[in-house]
């Protein structure tokens, strides 16, 4: 019984496994995800609903504006015409055409178009220069030599000049190093340090300009005939080239005028149809509302609704298939016009370059011609110059002469005035040079703030707090309005240079705080170990403390850079043409007067892309450093 029972019972036991069932619908796949992530509690449901609404509100406004846009047009009015002709609803979308014409300007400012490779190269080399710092574990440390060279290379690439200029400047470091060696042999490390700094500064202040001038004179004297021959030849070819370009420009302009006429002809019937439709619809609306637009006072709200009605009717009328052929003609004409005007712009840009080359060459030839007279005049004046007027005359003649030699003797890159710098490039240059130049000062300030020496400590603290306590915009105004008061009478240099100096001082206070954080985060044992080894202060800092502290500080430095980079937009208030300043200039041209969101959206996106990627990098580095520390 039991046996059979057992067997019987066994027949109810499954011998094989049941196939695994799908989990209930509510616990798998997207539904589970939605339940867990969006609807887990009443509060979450509310939050989800609110978020979805916000998303809808933003996107429903943004997406049509963004996609309902015009890329080919030459002015805001032409954009509006295209919107009208295509019957774009809601008055049309974005007029991105402004970026087609001015996008490059927003990025490079007025930098000569044929020299764009220089800022590009500077920018690329910057990554090469920082790579060994940012990826110190993957790249050979020999690359750090390039990093050290970069701060000298960067201004040369951007501003141009003879190739030996950066070399002379770098030589200042060598001079300082030699002086330090000699000084510390004689009088110990402190004397060595002072000697090094003093000699380097003396070198930069006096030897570099003199040497530079002399080299230019020597090279210039050697090349006089060559330069004259070349310049004359160039002038000869420039003339016909310019006339050629000008006739080409004229012919394109004629074509433009023809196409303009075709465009106007095609646009007229569309505009007429649209206007009639709009007026009829508005009148019908007013009639429905029981008001007479001729006699009654109409509130702006009512008018707006009427205009909306009119707009609807207008877009419908514009899309009327009967207008298809004229519309196609019109749109083709707009496309063609844009292309031709782009061509005109391109030719004009070449003409500009050539014209400035011509006037530069002519001026140079004239100066060379007058060079012997001027040299004589200098001699004459040097003998007799006693009155202030004569001295000033002498100096101004000397200036012309040395400028002529600089022109003749230059072997290197064409100089670019800093006034031509602008746009996004300007923001990058100010930000980058601010950070690079502020590093040494920032480190010194951080060490000063950690120092036990009362005076040094207090001065560092006072400087840091003073800088950090006052907004950057006030410092920029100081650079613009006051820096000339603080410098020796008569000295006057470039606004961009003044801004870079001020931004450097500003950034150094922030860098100092970041480095101080790094110094404080370093284990105390490191300091003690350095002392135990018998290293003096300079050596312990240089060999033990700073390398480690700076490494921890990199994320903070990157963050400071992001902040500084964003803050460079403030230079618009002192008249530098950064992206925002340029957007003001663009909006003041008659073609683009009234354009707004497109420019700011573009500028915002550029900044976002840069800052966001740097922020991500700094975050990942921070995480990596945290892992290494544990």
């Amino acid at each position: 019984m039991s046996e059979t029972g057992h067997q019987h019972a066994l027949s109810y036991v499954r011998a094989d496994m049941l196939p695994q069932q799908e989990p209930p619908v509510s616990h798998s796949g997207p539904i589970k995800w939605v339940r867990e992530n969006l609807l887990s509690s009443p509060l979450n449901v509310i939050l989800t609903v609110i978020s979805l609404y916000v998303l809808y509100a933003v996107l429903s406004g943004l997406i049509p504006w963004f996609f309902n846009s015009v890329w080919d047009a030459r002015s805001l009015n032409e954009c509006r015409e295209v919107f009208l002709a295509t019957g774009a609803t809601g008055g049309g979308g974005a007029c991105w055409a402004v970026l087609q014409e001015r996008g490059i300007q927003l990025i490079y400012g007025f930098y000569p178009a044929d020299l764009y490779w220089r800022p590009n190269l500077t920018f690329i080399l910057f990554f090469v220069a920082v790579a060994p710092i940012l990826y110190s574990d993957r790249l050979p440390s020999q690359m750090l030599w390039f990093t050290a060279l970069y701060p000298f290379l960067m201004p040369w690439l951007l501003w141009g000049g003879s190739f030996w200029v950066p070399i002379l400047v770098i030589a200042g470091l060598v001079v300082g190093y030699l002086a330090w060696m000699v000084g510390s042999r004689i009088g110990g490390s402190i004397l060595g340090g002072i000697a090094g700094i003093v000699f380097a500064i003396l070198w930069w202040l006096f030897a570099v300009p003199t040497l530079n001038d002399s080299i230019h004179r020597v090279v210039g004297n050697m090349r006089v005939d060559q330069v004259v021959a070349e310049s004359t030849a160039r002038l000869e070819t420039l003339g016909p080239e310019l006339t050629g370009l000008e006739t080409r420009r004229e012919s394109v302009r004629d074509e433009i005028a023809e196409l303009e006429a075709i465009k106007a002809q095609a646009f007229a019937p569309i505009e007429e149809a649209v206007e009639i439709a709009r007026e009829t619809a508005e009148l019908a609306f007013y009639e429905e509302e029981g008001v007479d637009p001729e006699t009654d006072q109409i509130g702006p709200g009512l008018r707006e609704r009427a205009e909306e009605e009119g707009q609807h009717a207008a877009s419908a009328a514009a899309r009327d298939p009967a207008l298809n052929t004229v519309r196609a003609t019109f749109l083709n004409a707009v496309d063609g016009l844009t292309e031709m005007r782009n061509e005109v712009n391109e030719i004009s840009s070449q003409i500009n370059i050539m014209q400035s080359e011509r006037s530069d060459t002519e001026a140079l030839l004239l100066n060379i011609e007058q060079l012997p007279d001027r040299l004589e005049e200098i001699e004459r004046l040097q003998e007799s110059a006693t009155t202030p007027g004569a001295i000033s005359e002498l100096e101004s003649v000397q200036d012309v002469v040395s400028q002529t030699y600089t022109e003749m003797g230059r072997i290197g890159l064409t100089p670019v005035e800093s006034r031509e710098f602008g746009g996004f490039m300007l923001a990058l240059i100010i930000g980058l040079s601010g950070i690079i130049l502020s590093l040494p000062l920032g480190i010194l300030l951080a060490l000063g703030r950690q120092s036990d020496l009362f005076l040094i400590n207090k001065v560092s603290v006072a400087f840091i707090e003073l800088i950090r306590g006052v907004p950057l915009i006030v410092w920029l105004f100081t650079a613009q309005l006051l820096l000339n008061y603080f410098l020796p009478p008569g000295s006057n240099f470039d606004l961009l240079l003044r801004v870079i100096i001020m931004v450097t001082l500003f950034a150094s206070a922030y860098i100092a705080e970041v480095v101080r954080g790094g110094l404080a985060a370093l284990a105390k044992g490191q300091y003690e170990a350095a002392d135990a080894l018998g290293l003096d202060y300079a050596k312990s800092m240089r060999l033990i403390v700073l390398p480690q502290a700076l490494k921890i500080s990199i994320p903070g430095i990157v963050n400071t850079f992001i902040g500084l980079f964003k803050d460079t937009t403030l230079v618009v208030f002192i008249g530098l043409l950064d992206p925002i300043g340029l957007s003001n200039s663009i909006r003041s041209s008659t073609d683009w007067n009234g354009i707004y969101w497109e420019l700011f959206a573009f500028i915002g996106l550029l900044f976002f892309a840069c800052c966001f990627s740097m922020g991500r990098y700094s975050l990942s580095l921070e995480k990596k450093l945290n892992r290494e520390h544990r």
Binding site: F152, V208, P300, N352, S396, D399, L487, N492, I574
Partner: protein
């Protein structure tokens, strides 16, 4: 005095410029370029085009001066300045002259130590309002919100106008003309006040210019003109007489088209000959070449041509000559004789 030498690569790269000295004319000649302060952007007066070439009425004045001094109208560095930085830029020597819709006032001339070298545009402060408001006079603006460019004389005029008429108003200060236009169109202010020329230029660029009216009242005198530093009379003379040359050229019918021919062949009119340097050498007295005026006129034409090309009725700005016609045509422009 020579620039204090500044260390580093930047100096030598040509950044440290020659200092402002007592003799601006010598400096400009030595430098080979004229540094001219303009606005950061004002339609018709100074704006950079897509290639970074500056255009406009104020810009044309700079070019004329550059042509007169250096013989080359392109030898100008345009320095964009804001309303609040313009005077420092001039005082510190960063620019040689300011051609930046700047009103000639007593305190600027005397207290701020500048020298105005004539009036290139007689302007006055006006108001623009929406037509649908039904306002016909500025005296009806009591209680209105008014957009105003900060840092300009218009700000003071506005305060005075409303105070003496016992009216209330709410100022909305803005930095630039384009910003003011944006604010006004958005309805953040009921009226916008600035120089009437600026109002006309602004109105011309609206989508529906007919919806806006410029009120008839002109509440101030705004003589706009180039200015230089006080105390450098030689340089002041150069700028002043370049402007006068442009005016006289218009008066005598000398244009950019016929000036070269007139200079070569001479004219029956002795004043034309004096102006163009064929008869006497007025240029040498200024420290310039004898054909200085020819170059100045060639740069952008005489005053009338400059006006027509940049802000005249054929341009989108569409300004009538009005007060800015020559005195012979009922305007205020009057150049002292070239003799």
């Amino acid at each position: 005095m020579k620039a204090s030498v500044f260390f580093g690569a930047m100096t030598v790269a040509g950044l440290a410029s020659v200092a402002a000295s007592a003799a601006t004319l010598d400096d400009v000649k030595a430098r080979g370029t004229l540094n001219c302060g303009v606005t950061t952007g004002l339609a018709g007066f100074s704006t950079p085009d897509a290639n970074g070439v500056w255009e406009g009425f104020d810009v044309a004045m700079c070019r004329a001066v550059a042509a007169a001094v250096l013989g080359d109208p392109t030898a100008v560095e345009f320095v964009p300045t804001t309303a609040s930085t313009r005077f420092t830029a001039l005082a510190s020597g960063e620019v040689d002259m300011l051609s930046r819709v700047t009103t000639w006032t007593f305190s600027r001339d005397v207290d701020l130590k500048f020298e105005f070298t004539g009036t290139t545009y007689y302007d006055g402060q006006g108001f623009i309002v929406l037509r649908e408001l039904g306002v016909t006079s500025a005296k009806e603006l009591s209680g209105a919100t008014v957009c105003i460019r900060t840092g300009t004389t218009t700000e003071l005029n506005l305060a005075e106008f409303f105070r003496i008429n016992n009216m209330e108003y709410e100022p909305v200060p803005v930095e630039t003309n384009s910003e003011a236009q944006q604010q006004y169109l958005a309805g953040a202010c009921d009226a916008y006040t600035t120089d009437a020329s600026g109002l006309a230029a602004t109105r011309a660029s609206f989508e529906n210019p007919g919806d806006h009216v410029i009120l008839p009242e002109i509440i101030s005198k705004e003589p706009l003109g180039p200015l230089v530093r006080h105390g450098d009379n030689d340089w002041g003379d150069v700028v002043r007489w370049t402007v006068n040359a442009l005016l006289t050229a218009e008066e005598l019918g000398v244009t950019s088209a016929n000036v070269e021919q007139l200079a070569a062949d001479g004219s029956d009119n002795p004043e034309v000959n004096r102006l163009l340097g064929t008869d006497s050498d007025l240029g040498a007295m200024l420290g310039l070449e004898s054909d200085w005026a020819v170059n100045a006129i060639l740069a952008g034409g005489n005053y009338g041509e400059i006006f027509e090309a940049n802000i005249g009725e054929s341009t989108p700005i569409g300004l009538a000559r009005g007060l800015n016609a020559l005195w012979t045509e009922g305007g205020l422009l009057y150049s002292p004789p070239f003799r």
